[in-house]
Structures are given as C-alpha cells and as structure tokens.
Amino acid sequence: MSAALLQIRNLSVSVEGNEILHDISLDVHKGETHVLMGPNGAGKSTIGNTLMGNPQYHVISGSILFDGQELNGLSPDKRAKAGMFMSFQNPIEVPGLSLESFIRNAIRQQTGKPIRIFQFKKRLEDTMRLLNMDPAYADRDLNVGFSGGEKKKAEILQMLMLDPKLCILDETDSGLDVDAVHTVSNGIKEYQKNSEGALMIITHNAKILESLKVDRTHVIVRGHLVADGGPELIEKISEHGFEEYIAEAADINE
C-alpha cells in the first residue's frame, strides 16, 4: 500500500491549557472516506481544527504528515494550499465580502493564477444548482443572514469549487432539516465521484452517512481514539450509542 495521504502520529492537543486530545494516531489514504464519531465534547472538532491549523489549538506532541509534508507549524493558508479543507461547524459571517468574490479570491490565491471569469461563473452556477442554492446567494455577503442550511451548503459549495485533497466536514449535518441533509449529502457524493480526494466526516449522527460510501470509522471519546472499524461500526453505534465506549474511555483515564 502506498503512503497514506494523512498520517497522524501520537497527537496530543490542548486548548487554553487543557489537554483535549490524547495520543491520537490514524491514517487516511487517497480516495478514502473516514467517519469520526463520538459524543458531544469528545474532541472530534479538535481534530479538525488542529489539522486545519486553528491557532487556538496547540499541539503538545505528535506529528501530522499530509501529502508527505509535516503540518505542525504551518499557517492555515499554507495547509489550504497543500490541499486541506475544512467545512466549518459554524461558518463565519463576513459583511461586505460576497460569496462569489470570496471563492474567486480563494481559488486565485491557491492556484496563483488569474481566473477565467466566464468559466468560473459557469462552474459556480452549476455547482450551486447541484446544491439547490439560489444563484442570488453568489452576490450576497458571505454567510450574512444565511440560514443554518444555507451556510452549510455554502461550505460544500466552497469545497467543490476548491477541489481539495482532504476535506474535513465538521458537523456539517448538525442543525439541518431532512432535505438539507439530503442536498449536502449529494454534494459530498459529487466530491467522492469526481475527485481523488479523501474525506473525514465528523458527526455524531448517522443520518448523513446513510447514502454515502464509507471506508473507515473511528470512535473518539474523552479525547481518546477508542475504536476503529469499517462502515458496520456506524450501524452498531446507531443502535447502541456510545455507552460501551464511554466506559472504555473511563478505564483509560484511570
């Protein structure tokens, strides 16, 4: 097997001085879809934010190798340029910056090349249509006044437009109604189909996973990686919840 796209080794992370993640190791290969599950507050989002380089998260020890490059110490924009993407749990509102010009700027900065406006607009429109987004949103201020569902769709729109190597979807399904979950899930399928990239889907709800191909599942509880498995693990958790793992994590902590 070729080297993994993402290699996390013995990663421990703190936020405001509190250690949140303990000794996490996992590999993601090109083209794979991984699911990261766990109860609220388990540290799932911490993994996503740490991978993306959020300055509020401090790596205590361990390494993150992405496409052969050590990410520790790299700023978020360099990680993005290396092919990392995160769909935010709470996308930020930026008044005065339109969704379209934001995406255009991001593509230009990532590729370092000028953009062919006509092609770009066509692709943006097509992608918005796929996500059932009103094209008028392209001209609206980034996330300002967007509903929860529209914000998440706008994240998936950015993902599809930027076509990264690894997408971390941080609770992209949270707070969405059934139709929106379906739309977002279609967007993810589109990425799986057309891109060679990999996905790390962070969720505590199996709903979004029902129609997606999943390769690996990881369970995280109290900052520990307590179980690894295939897609069957999702079903098991849907039925029995995290109780068994919570007990296990309690043992580790003691």
Binding site: M52, G53, N54, P55, Q56, S75, P76, D77, R79, A80, K81, F85, M86, F88, P91, I92, V94, P95, G96, L97, F102, N105, A106, Q109, Q110, D141, Q158, L162
Partner: protein, 488 residues
C-alpha cells in the same frame, strides 16, 4: 503694521516647531508612493510666510478681486485674529501659521486643454489619472495646483444645457458675479470658526457650479485639488448651486506629497440644493501625513431637495471635518455615508451635523471608522431637530473597527431634539477583527495579511458601494496601502 499673529490671545503656540520629530518619525516608511511625488516649482510665485494684512492685500491684488472681496478678506483676517483656536478637538499646536505660505501660484494661467498645461504640472495630474478619468466618465474637470486652477473644462453638451462650471475667480466678475456675491460665504460665514475666518482672508481657487432649473447633469463633474508646495496652505472655495428640480453629482479629490513640515488645508464648500433638486457630493480626501486638514463643508436643502454626501477621509496628520446639512424646506432629505481611516500618527476627528428645520425632513447617517497602528479615529455627530421640524426622522449608524490594541476609536454622538413629534435613532458599534474570521478566510488559502485586508474592505463596502466604480477601486487601493505591513 505690527504683526497681529503675535497677539497673545489668538496665536498658535510658537513653542512647537513644525519640523517636529513626531512628524518626521511617522512619515518615514510610509507607503503611499503612488500619490507621493513632488514636482519642482522653483519658478512659482509665492507670497511670504505667515499671515498679515499685507499678505492678504497682496493676494487680493494678485487676483484682481472686486473691492467688496478685498474688504471681505480684510474683515475675515480681523476675525481670524479674534477667534480662538478650537480646544475640543485633536491638538493642532504643530501648526504654526507664521510658517505657512498662504499663496503659491503656478507658473501658468488656467487652460482649457491639457496640452496647454505646463509639462511638469500636467504630468502630476497624469499620474493621478485625471485626464484619463475626464475622457472616460466625467462631464467636466477642474484641476487646481497649489493655489490656482490650472485647468478647467466642461463638455460642450453640458454647457449647452446652461450648466456653469468655472473657477471662482472668474465667476466674481462674469455673468454670475451677483449670484456669487449673494452666496459666497453666507452658509459658512467667516465668523463661524477660526479656520473659516482664515479661509475668508486667503481663499484661492476652487470651483463655481450652477445647474439651472430642471437640468439633470447625467455624468459627474470633478474638481481635483493637488497641493504640491512645501509648507504651504491650500484654501480652495467650492460653491455649488443646484437650482429647482436640477440634478448633479460632483466629485472632489484631494492629495499631496509628503513633506517634513506642516502643510495646511482649510478649504470651504458651500452647497445650495434648491426645491426638489438633488446633489450628490463625493469626496476622497487623500492627504499626506504632514497635513492639517481643517476643512468646512455645508449644505442648505430647500423643500423636497435631496443632499447626498459620500465622504472618504484618508491621510492627513490631523483632520477636523464635519459636513453639515441644514434641512430647511419641508420634506428635505439628506444621506451621509462616510469612512475614516486613521493610521500611525494620525488623529482624525470626523463626522457630520444635521439640522432639521422643515417638517417631514429626514436624515440617514452611516459611517465607518478604522483605526490602526496607534491611529485615533473620533466620530462626532450632531443631530439637531428644531421645534418646527415635526414628523422628521433621523437614523445614525456608526461602526468602528480597531485593528490593534494601541489604536483608538471614539464615538461622540450628540442630539438636540426640540419636538416630541419625530423619530430619532442612533446605533454605534465598536469592534475588532476576530481571530475566527481571520482563521476562516485563511483556511481557504488566503494569507493573513490578505484576510485582514478583505475583512477591512468588507467593512468599508457600504461606503465604496456608494462611489462610482473607478473611485471605489481607488478607495479599495488606499485601504490596501494602509493595510500593508499590518502583520507583525
């Protein structure tokens, strides 16, 4: 005649030299190079430094003033010496009037084509893009260099509509002499404050615009004021009368190269918006950071008239700028949209004043203030509603963005409401760029510097949206220049 500037009660503090270390410290390393070029003007005519009756008489003679204007200047000078320096705003003690040259005449007369303008002056306006802008999207241009207009032109089709656009000097003797005399410094009388008096004494250059009844000028007119001379003052006067039912968009641009001594700008703008007329007055002031910008702008709006201000204050060491609108007639309306960017070594005191007199008058104020690198931005607003102004409405919304911990942003709103029957609202927000926002933009591959600039541009967007495209681009460019090197 002894030098009245030495009169104790009124003079600027002479203890502080204009070759002040403060000024020298912050103009170094400043990056507004595209505006910062100086032209040689050794052959220009300059009056001596300082302010005396002799100098005022000299200016008056140079300009062939009518007698009433000569007397007006001398009366204003007298008032200047009597009125005290304002004590409520940013310090202006680095400004010593004994060192300011009040009149610098370029070695040319006013021309009607750019080809006739002397090469070194034309090249300055070329660099600022003025002839190109005139060619592409303006109906007329006036260009002032130091104290005098060097170029003035109005499209024939607009002139054929009866629109008058000329320098103030020739308007004093021409067909509109009586009109100019009737309106000149009536809205901003020299008694108003010390620098209005100064302006009345030494004013030079500027534009006179008259738009006849019912005439709609489809494309904007622009006057550009370039102050090139070291240690000089610029005192241009803009007088615009938009007659009943007429419509005009006037654009004012200003810039100057940087010098290591204080320069002064004390212009005066008087705008008369008649019944059912509309005037939009857009400005981007972009002074170098050795400039004291003590400018006065005022509009009088009659029944059903509409005044729109779009104001960008960039550059200058100290600014006092509060465009005032008097809503005199019933149903008069005013919208004020402004932005102020205070960077290192800058103390910019800006805002606006609205005086509601007529019934059903309405005002809407939206301002943005950005401060950075220890810059001080103060927003002052004054909303005055007279007992006669029943059913009036006013809404003020000012937001400030501080880009670091050493900068300062203050909001000083004042309201004086003398009727129960009105609707007045005020909202103020002071914020910072959140780490989450920067992280969010960076996570898409945008550098930290670029991310911050994008957030600041977004913050300024409600103002740039109000400007014509080319000026919005210039403003965004100014914001980028100010943001350069903002990452420690």
């Amino acid at each position: 005649m002894n030098d009245p500037v030495k009169d104790d009660a009124v003079h600027f503090d002479p203890a502080i030299d204009t070759e002040d270390d403060d000024i020298n410290a912050y103009i170094d390393g400043e990056s507004r190079s595209i505006y910062n070029f100086r032209e040689d003007e050794s052959d220009f005519y300059r009056v001596g430094e300082g302010l005396t009756a002799d100098i005022v008489e000299l200016i008056s003679r140079e300009k062939n003033d009518p007698e009433w204007m000569r007397e007006f200047r001398l009366r204003s000078l007298d008032l200047y010496h009597k009125i005290r320096v304002p004590e409520w705003g940013p310090p202006i003690d680095g400004l010593n009037m004994d060192n300011i040259v009040t009149y610098v005449r370029p070695n040319t007369t006013m021309k009607g084509t750019w080809d006739e303008v002397p090469e070194e002056i034309r090249s300055a306006f070329d660099k600022l893009g003025i002839p190109q802008a005139e060619h592409e999207f303006l109906a007329g241009v006036g260009a002032q260099y130091d104290s005098e207009l060097v170029y003035h032109n109005l499209q024939e089709s607009v002139a054929a509509q009866g629109v008058v656009y000329t320098d103030i000097e020739s308007s004093l003797t021409g067909k509109y002499a009586d009109m100019v005399k009737e309106y000149f410094m009536k809205l901003v009388p020299p008694t108003d404050h010390k620098f209005a008096a100064l302006h009345g004494a030494v004013w030079s250059g500027g534009s006179f615009v008259y738009v006849p009844k019912g005439v709609k000028v489809e494309v904007p007119l622009q006057s550009y004021f370039r102050l090139n001379a070291k240690g000089a003052g610029q005192f241009e006067h803009t007088l615009i009368i938009v007659d009943e039912g007429a419509d005009l968009h006037f654009i004012e641009g200003c810039s100057a190269p940087k010098w290591n001594v204080a320069n002064l700008h004390a212009g005066c703008v008087e705008l008369y918006v008649k019944k059912n007329a509309r005037l939009r007055y857009s400005t981007i002031e972009n002074w170098s950071k050795n400039m004291y910008n003590l400018n006065t702008k005022r509009a009088l709006v009659e029944e059903g008239g509409r005044m729109e201000w779009v104001s960008g204050s960039f550059g200058s060491h100290v600014s006092y700028l509060y465009p005032t609108t008097i809503l005199k007639g019933r149903n008069a309306a005013c919208e004020y949209t402004g932005i102020t960017f205070a960077g290192k070594g800058q103390d910019l005191d800006t805002g606006c004043r609205m005086v509601h007199i007529g019934e059903d008058t309405s005002t809407l104020v939206t301002t943005k203030s950005i401060s950075k690198d220890g810059g001080i931005g103060t927003f002052r607003s004054s909303i005055e509603v007279m007992p006669t102004a029943v059913n009036s409405r006013s809404s003020v919304d000012c937001s400030s963005l501080m880009l670091d911990d050493i900068s300062r942003s203050d909001t000083i709103p004042a309201m004086e409401v003398r009727t129960d029957n009105c609707n007045i609202g005020h909202e103020a927000k002071i914020g910072r760029i959140s780490d989450e926002s920067v992280f969010y933009l960076m996570s898409r591959g945008i550098s930290e510097e670029e991310a911050r600039a994008m957030i600041v541009s977004g913050f300024a967007d409600p103002v740039s949206k109000e400007l014509p495209l080319e000026y919005a681009a210039e403003m965004n460019n100014l914001i980028k220049l100010e943001m350069e090197g903002s990452i420690s």
